[in-house]
């Protein structure tokens, strides 16, 4: 599917990746390549390994890579710390954004943005300049300024948490964003805001991986490729119509693919 000639180099290459936690294998040889401008969707039942894949790409310490490589902009990043990956332009949108009591959202966003800017050799922003920048980005996710003075994700509703994730993505301007079930727990209006935010932030130079259960996000953001995962493997890859077929026939339909492979 991805063998056709591409004009530029890939952003992310996951090559035959296997990983385990507590000696329990979770990923069993996953390969995905994302080129600039591409949107990939990963679908699959709960527990198939899609969230794990996203965490491993972001560098979560609980998982051990037992085989294979993750390459970002051509460099192997298997042993990089999570903060190094983030600074260099990998973004993970959390399925369940974490609450950090007492840490103001504004300060968190500023420190985080500056860490990325430092990596890019851009000037770090003081409180005033950052206020300006963040105001502009708040528009994208239609968030109120009052969110900034609250503690990170604390007391946020499910939708607010997800919008806060997209706000972070907007500030960090990643090369690749892996969005783990960003659509779950959103009502239809919030889903539209989040989807349009993602579209505004991404461009021809960035890549996106959407992890989702539902077609409704993919109606808003049309993927170039759809991958179906099962038991730690990608069992089928297709174009956007694969998601529609999946919606129609359910995951039971995909069980046949496992038998085929």
């Amino acid at each position: 599917m991805q063998s056709k000639m591409k004009e530029s180099d890939p952003i992310l290459e996951v090559e035959n990746l296997s990983a385990s936690t507590d000696n329990l294998p979770i990923l069993k040889g996953v390969s995905i390549t994302v080129y600039p401008g591409e949107i990939h969707a990963i679908m699959g039942r709960n527990g198939c390994g899609k969230s794990t894949l996203s965490k491993i790409i972001a560098g979560h310490p609980s998982y051990n890579i037992t085989n294979g490589d993750i390459k970002f902009l051509g460099e192997n990043i298997n042993s990089l710390e999570p903060e190094e990956r983030a600074q260099s332009g990998i973004f993970l949108g959390f399925q369940y954004p974490i609450e950090i009591p007492g840490v103001s959202n504004l300060e968190f966003l500023r420190v985080s943005t500056n860490a990325r800017r430092k990596f890019l050799n851009k000037e770090e922003l003081d409180t005033f300049d950052f206020e300006e920048l963040v105001k502009e980005k708040l528009e994208i996710v239609k968030m109120d300024h009052a969110f900034l003075s609250r503690s990170v994700n604390q007391g946020f509703s499910g939708g607010e948490k997800k919008r806060n994730e997209i706000l972070q993505m907007a500030l960090l301007e990643p090369k690749i964003a892996i969005l783990d079930e960003t659509d779950s727990g959103l009502d239809i209006d919030a889903l539209r805001i989040v989807a349009s935010g993602i579209k505004k932030i991404s461009n021809a130079k960035t890549g996106i991986i959407l992890i989702t259960h539902y077609q409704r996000l993919l109606d808003e953001i049309k993927p170039n490729y759809v991958h179906v995962m099962s038991d730690g493997q990608i069992i089928k890859t297709g174009e956007s119509d694969l998601a529609l077929e999946l919606e129609e026939k359910g995951y039971e339909w995909t069980d046949n693919f496992i038998k085929e492979t």
Binding site: P61, S62, P82, Q87, I100, P101, F108, S112, A115, L172
Partner: protein, 480 residues
């Protein structure tokens, strides 16, 4: 699997105040008896009432037993093996700062407390105490213009004997506890503050306590009196060199607030804590208490306790005046083999009195960190309220955190509310911050600061920044 080891590495503390000033000192012989007390009193040219106060306290102390109810583990203190008076040698009478030994000025410079006219802090008046004596007090003339008295307690004994005689020992009586009795017998120096009626003190006042000598104890005594409708914000900082022996620090602080007066007392305590094996460090056994004597008076304690091998300290409020207010905001960080037993007592005596307690304990390494507090509603404290919140954060799996809240109410028409929680820095929180490009150490430090936010918000601005920095420093590994 959680990065416990990493977290532990991060919490390693560099102590940058551990140097010793090489200076000629005048020390008296080790040991404690009536003659020693007479000698201290004589050196300080004290009036008879004070010598009597000391001797009476000493007699009481001799009959008392060192308290062990806090369950702190330490080698028995040999009170005869301590020097009770140690002072840097300098000219008898110093008329200006120019005559202060440059080594002393240099010491305070190094501690970030410049004293000379050119370099002194512009918005804070400082009383600098070195071992047993006060070296200098800045901004005295400016404060005097407002009628504010800010000087060492030794000077106050000479120049304001009436105030000392009237108030000394009225909040913390000599017989209050073992260490208060000891202090009352041998106290050497400390600060004295008097704010006259109706005066809002034009700048923050602060005392900086420096222990330099390894074999002498420090027994300072602070007395603050706020007359009707006056207010003052007072800051206190402390450091000591790194010795492999333990040094005893037994201070007494007394605050008195009259009608509509308010006193805010903030401490950043960073005495040497001992090394990783628990060798050395200060024994910080301190009695601090404020008396809200007047109607609508207010006393607020805020403290950031990061140092000392052992801390035993319960800044308290006696709420006598109707509608008086007591507050206690505390952050206590312990690491390695440090032990902290700290909290407060809010004694509601008058009607419609109000108190707030917010305590944040962070325990790392093999340390032991306890909150111990008492809220008491007396028979006349009708319509009074208390709110207490005690939170503990554990770093690593060897540290311990305890909360001992004692509540006594002698009548039904009052409210007491207590909340407590214990948390741990979770791997998921760390990963979340890291996945946003924030370095591991900064992530830990951010979360600890966040945990302490409610208390930091109560500190004077410069102090809050310093406290935040101090915690980060303690959490920063060898980077500091």
């Amino acid at each position: 699997m959680v990065n416990e080891n990493l977290v532990k590495d991060v919490v390693k503390e560099p102590y940058k105040y551990g140097f010793v000033t090489d200076i000629e000192t005048e020390k008296i012989a080790k040991g404690l008896n009536e003659d020693i007390i007479r000698l201290i009193s004589q050196k300080k040219e004290e009036p008879k009432f004070l010598l009597d106060f000391r001797l009476k306290a000493f007699k009481k102390w001799q009959k008392m037993k060192e308290p062990d109810w806090a369950g702190l583990g330490y080698k028995k203190i040999d009170y005869q093996d301590i020097i009770y008076y140690s002072a840097p040698k300098q000219k008898e009478k110093i008329s200006s700062l120019d005559e202060v030994d440059p080594k002393l000025l240099e010491t305070f410079d190094k501690l970030g407390i410049p004293l000379t006219e050119q370099k002194k802090l512009t918005n804070v008046a400082v009383d600098a105490v070195f071992d047993s004596v006060s070296i200098a007090t800045t901004f005295r003339e400016e404060l005097a213009e407002h009628g504010v008295i800010f000087c060492s307690i030794s000077e106050a004994v000479k120049n304001h004997a009436d105030l000392i005689e009237k108030y000394l020992g009225t909040v913390v009586p000599a017989s209050d506890n073992y260490f208060a009795a000891l202090n009352s017998a041998v106290f050497s120096d400390g600060s004295f503050v008097y704010i006259p009626k109706g005066v809002i003190c034009p700048m923050d006042l602060s005392s900086y306590f420096r222990i330099n000598s390894g074999d002498s104890g420090q027994f300072e005594r602070t007395l603050i009196i706020a007359e009707e409708s006056s207010s003052v914000s007072y800051l206190e900082g402390c450091t000591a060199p790194m010795f492999d022996t333990n040094t005893l620090h037994a201070a007494v602080v007394e605050l008195i607030a009259l009608d509509d007066a308010s006193i805010k007392y903030s401490t950043v305590q960073n005495w040497y804590a001992g090394d990783e094996e628990g060798i050395g460090g200060i024994f910080n056994f301190v009695t601090k208490r404020g008396k809200c004597l007047g109607k609508r008076s207010k006393i607020s304690w805020s403290q950031v306790e990061t140092g000392s091998a052992i801390t035993w300290k319960y800044p308290s409020c006696l709420l006598l005046g109707e509608e008086s207010v007591g507050e206690f905001y505390s952050v206590a960080l312990t690491n390695n083999l440090q032990q902290a037993d700290t909290g407060t007592k809010m004694i509601h005596i008058g009607p419609k009195t109000k108190s707030t307690i917010v305590s944040k304990g962070i325990s790392a390494g093999n340390s032991k960190n306890s909150y111990r507090g008492l809220v008491k509603m007396g028979t006349k404290a009708t319509g009074s309220r208390n709110y207490s919140q005690c939170d503990s954060m554990l770093i690593g799996d060897q540290a311990s955190a305890n909360t001992f809240p004692y509540i006594k109410s002698q009548q039904s028409n009052s409210e007491i509310e207590h909340e407590a929680s214990t948390c741990r820095i979770s791997e998921d929180q760390l990963f979340y911050l890291q996945s946003r490009g924030i370095e591991f150490e900064e992530a830990v430090s951010m979360m600890v600061s966040g945990f302490c936010r409610d208390v930091f918000n109560q500190l004077p601005m410069e102090f809050a920044a310093e406290a935040d920095k101090l915690l980060s420093l303690k959490l920063e590994g060898s980077v500091g």
